[in-house]
C-alpha cells in the first residue's frame, strides 16, 4: 500500500475486467431465466426471480459502503422500507408512475441517510454497527406506528406502478425485465463509482484514514457521500419489492432483513460488486430450498452461517478462489 502507483488503473483494470465478465455472464443467465421458466410451465419462478434481482440491487448497494468503505451498516433494511413506502404513499394519492416513485424513495432515503449517517460516521467499529442498527430500528418503529398505512399489518397495493404511462409492469415478465434493467444500471453506476477518483479515495480511507487525511482528504465527507449513495440505491430495490409483492409492511425493514443483506454481501464476497449479486441469488435460493425441506429452515440457515464464518470467511468467492476458478485479490 505504500506505493500509490501500484494500485493505479494499469494494474487494477484487468482485475476488474474479470469481475465485470462474471457479472455479464450472470446478467445473461438472468435474462434467459423467464423464457426457461415458462417453458417449464412454472411462471411462479419469475416472481421469485424478481425478488432475487431486487435484493441483488440492495446487496450491491450495501457492498459499495461495506466492501469499499468498510462501513458495516446494520440498518440498511430501512432504505428498503423507504423505497417500498414511497410506492404506497404515492399510490394512495393516485400517483403510480415508477419514475416518480423512485424519485420519492430516493429523496426520503437521501434525507434519512444524511441525518443518520452524519451522526453514525462520527464513530466507527462496534459503535457504528450498533448505531446504524438502532437507527434502522427507529425507522421500523416509525412505520409500525404509521396507522394511515396499515401500521403493523402493512398496506396492500391495488395495482403495480406504470412506466411513463405504460402498464408494462402489470405482467410478471415486464416487472422482471425492468428489475433486471435497473440491476444492470445500478451495477454500472456502482462500478463507475468504484473506479472513479471518488471510489479510489473511499478505498484509500478504508485502508488508512489517517494517511488519507494527511494528504488532504476529509474521510467524513467521502464516507457520508458513499453512505447516502448506498442508501438511495437500496431504496430502488425497495420500490421494486413493493411492486413484486404488491404489498408493503414494516416487516421489510426489520433488523433481520438488514442482517440478511449483510449475509448476501459476505456470502458473495465483500468488495467485489459482482459477488453480492451472486450472494443474493445464493442466499435467497438457499432460503427457498431450506424452507421447502423443513419448517425450521432458520435453524439450518443459522448453522450454515456460523459454519461459513468459521470455515470460509470470504464466502463463495473465497471457495472459488481456493478452487482456482476465480482470482480476485493479490
Amino acid at each position: 500500500m505504500s506505493d500509490l502507483t501500484a494500485t493505479a488503473p494499469g494494474r487494477a483494470a484487468p482485475r476488474m475486467a474479470g469481475r465485470v465478465k462474471a457479472a455479464i455472464i450472470l446478467f445473461i443467465l438472468f435474462a434467459l431465466m423467464p423464457p426457461l421458466a415458462s417453458a417449464l410451465d412454472d411462471p411462479f419462478y419469475v416472481l421469485i426471480g424478481t425478488r432475487i434481482l431486487a435484493y441483488a440491487i440492495a446487496a450491491l448497494a450495501l457492498d459499495l459502503i461495506l466492501g469499499y468503505g468498510a462501513m458495516v451498516s446494520f440498518g440498511h433494511a430501512a432504505y428498503l422500507g423507504f423505497g417500498s413506502y414511497a410506492v404506497a404513499i404515492l399510490s394512495s394519492y393516485g400517483i403510480n408512475d415508477l419514475g416518480l416513485q423512485l424519485l420519492f424513495g430516493i429523496t426520503l432515503s437521501a434525507v434519512f441517510a444524511l441525518i443518520t449517517g452524519a451522526i453514525s460516521l462520527r464513530t466507527q467499529g462496534v459503535y457504528f454497527i450498533m448505531i446504524t442498527l438502532a437507527f434502522g430500528q427507529m425507522a421500523f418503529f416509525f412505520f409500525i406506528s404509521l396507522s394511515a398505512y396499515g401500521g403493523d399489518d402493512g398496506y396492500g397495493l391495488s395495482e403495480r406502478s406504470t412506466l411513463m404511462g405504460i402498464d408494462i409492469l402489470q405482467s410478471d415478465f415486464g416487472l422482471y425485465y425492468v428489475t433486471l434493467a435497473l440491476l444492470i444500471a445500478m451495477f454500472v453506476l456502482c462500478h463507475r463509482i468504484v473506479m472513479s477518483r471518488f471510489g479510489r479515495v473511499l478505498t484509500g480511507i478504508r485502508e488508512n484514514p489517517t494517511r488519507m487525511e494527511a494528504i488532504g482528504y476529509s474521510p467524513f465527507r467521502y464516507q457520508l457521500t458513499a453512505f447516502i449513495i448506498s442508501g438511495c440505491i437500496t431504496s430502488v430495490a425497495g420500490v421494486l419489492l413493493a411492486n413484486q409483492a404488491q404489498f408493503v409492511s414494516p416487516a421489510f425493514m426489520s433488523w433481520h432483513r438488514s442482517g440478511e443483506l449483510i449475509v448476501m454481501v459476505v456470502l458473495g464476497g465483500v468488495g467485489t460488486l459482482t459477488g453480492p449479486i451472486g450472494g443474493a441469488v445464493a442466499a435467497l435460493l438457499l432460503e427457498e430450498w431450506l424452507g421447502a425441506l423443513s419448517e425450521h429452515w432458520r435453524l439450518w440457515f443459522g448453522i450454515f452461517l456460523v459454519l461459513m464464518v468459521l470455515f470460509s470467511p470470504r464466502g463463495i468467492t473465497g471457495v472459488l478462489e481456493r478452487m482456482g476458478i476465480v482470482r480476485t485479490r493479490q
Binding site: R122, M130, A134, W255, V263, G302
Partner: protein
Amino acid sequence: MMNLFVLQLLNGVQLGVLLFLIAAGLTLVFGIMDVINLAHGVLYMVGAYLIATFAAATGNFWWGLLLMLPAAVLVGMVLEFVVMRRLYARSHLDQVLATFGLVMIASEAVKMIWGTSPLSVPMPEILSGAVPLMGPLKYPVYRIAVIVAGLAVAVGLFVLVNYTRVGMLLRAGATNRSTVSALGVDINRLFSVVFTLGAVLACLAGALVAPILSVDTGMGESVLILTFVVVVIGGIGSIKGAFLGALLVAIVDTVGGVFGPIWLRQILDPAAAGQVGRVLGPMLVYILMAVILFAKPAGLFGRRA
C-alpha cells in the same frame, strides 16, 4: 396525574434495572475483547425459558431460580467454547454474521423445544401482593423485588469491578488488552469468565422478568436493540455508563410513551397529539441516542470513539 407519573417512573426504573443486567455483560465483552455479540438478547430469552421449565418441573419459583443459575453458567460456557472463542481475532463483520447465525439457531431451537405458544411462570406467593405507595396508589411487590434484586446485583458488580483482583484485570483489560496480556495474564481465560458472567446476568434478567411477562420467542429481540442503545449511550466498556444509560433509556421509554401525548396536547389539538405521540413514542429512545451521540460520540462515559 402525579400518581400516574410515579407509577410510570417506577415501571421505568424496573425496566432500567433489567436493561442494566443485560447491558453489563454486553458492555464488558465489547470493552475488553472488542467483540460484538448479537446473540446476547437470546440469552435473556433462554433465561426466561429455563426458569419456566424448572419452575414448572419443581412447582416452585425459587427452585426454578436456583436451578436456572447453573444452567445459565453452562449455556454461557458452551457458547463461549464452541463459537465466541473463535471470533476474538476476527473482524467485526465476521462477529456480526456468526452471532446473527446464533440468533437464528437459538430462536428456532427454542421454538422446536418449547413450541410457539407463550409460557407463563407463576409468581412466588410471598411476592404476589401489592403495597400502598401514596394515596390510593398501589404497586406490585414483585416489581419492587425486581428493582431491589437488580440494584443488589449492580452493587455486587460495582464491588467486583472496583475492589477485587478480577475486577482490576477487567478494568486493565478494557484499557489496554495487549499490555495486560504481555504482563502474563491469560486474557482468553479472563474473557471466558467475563462472557460467562455476562451470560448469567442476561439469563437472570430473563428469569426475573418471566413472572410479569409472557415468555415467548420474540422477547430477546426487542430487548437486544434497547440494550445496544444503552451500551452506546453509556459508552462501551463502562459499567457506570451502562447503569445510568439503562435507567435513562428505560425511563424515557416508559414515561415518554405515556406522557408524550399528554404533554403534546398542550400545544396540539387532542387528535393530532394522540397521533404524533403514537408515532414519536417508540422513536423517543433513538432520538435520545442521536442527541447524546451528536454531543458525545463515545457515549457518556466512553473512552474511545
